[in-house]
Amino acid sequence: MSGHDHGDDGVSRRKVLECMTWAGTGVLWTITGGVPRSLGIIDSAQAATAAASGMTFLQISDSHVGFDKPANPNALGTLEEAVNKINAMPAKPSFMIHTGDITHLSKAAEFDNAERIISQSKLDVHYVPGEHDFLDEDVKFYRERYGRGTRGAGWYSFDAGGVHFIGLVNVVDLKAGGLGNLGAEQLAWLEDDLRGKSKSTPIVLFAHIPLWTVYPEWGWGTEDGGRALEYVKGFGSVTVLNGHIHQVMQKVEGNVTFHTARSTAFPQPAPGTAPSPGPMKVEDARLRAMLGVASVNFKQNEQRLAIIDTPLQG
């Protein structure tokens, strides 16, 4: 959003719309020379080239299946649109990660509906839970479905395409007045998981709540996220992916690239621009013009990532 020109140059309205596009259909990532690089999934040419040259994977987030309030009365429908878009890609990504809030109220039927739609992508999906996925009394629906082979509340790691992926859970044991939380047990596991790994191994950390402090006034950060980042500091390439804040935001700090994904359900306001982080309502007529995807290019030797937001219509 930064870098957009809002001047009256005849394209300003369109640019404003681009700034406000929201419905993420995911971000496609490619590994080139061991460095994850994100691409917009609608850019077929780029995606095809990336697929030809190496591994690609996709991130979707914050589907909130079951949400039916005015900001988007049909969150399941927009998730299906996202999956249709994924299916229309010219080259199939290797797998997908979902950074949490699959459901809105952790109901069995919501998990069923999410699964029914997401499975239409016919991709392997690696999940981490959002706080909305842990609302059932015994916190068992998420774990029974997605927790197999994971530790603790659902953390795990795996290797793909020469990259070490680590899924973290920062939505349990939240303390009054605090932010997201990883906890001592998970941090110890993480330190152990990374022990002995070559520093040239590209690392992708993914979790629901940002591991970096985005806006503590709204709880957008992780209390002990800094500890996790300490453990990956020595690695040459670290990419940190998350959801939760329903908007694109990124920064590069040393060898670490942080990137938040959009939601497939509803937008949330930019930090501090509204009384609360709750769903942002837009007029129905504008909704479809504001659906879109983000193409984010990570250029080495540049401090900022280049973002191109593309609306589906308008």
Binding site: S106, L135, S276, G278
Partner: protein, 107 residues
Amino acid sequence: MKILNRRDFGVAVAAAILLPATTARADDMDVHIDNFVFQPAELTVKVGTTVTWTNRDDIPHTVVSAGKFRSKTLDTDDKFSFTFTNAGDYKYFCSLHPHMTGMIKVE
């Protein structure tokens, strides 16, 4: 309808006789959740008061006071009530959005 009304009336009378004056309905208090904030954030009540929280956000919240009380997840317009039978300061928070905090002072 008439029969129902009469039965409700009977229950109300019985309750009024059984309960001490401090728990009369007039003393019961409400806290609303609006825009991820408990309002009022701090409330002073007498022993025996029932406080009812109502979530008016489009996002679910909870009301949790460690070791004291814990609501289920409150969806939009859901309510949770707790009757305070002991004096003291009850700090509480939303376990989903822990930056949301509140306090009930019972005297």
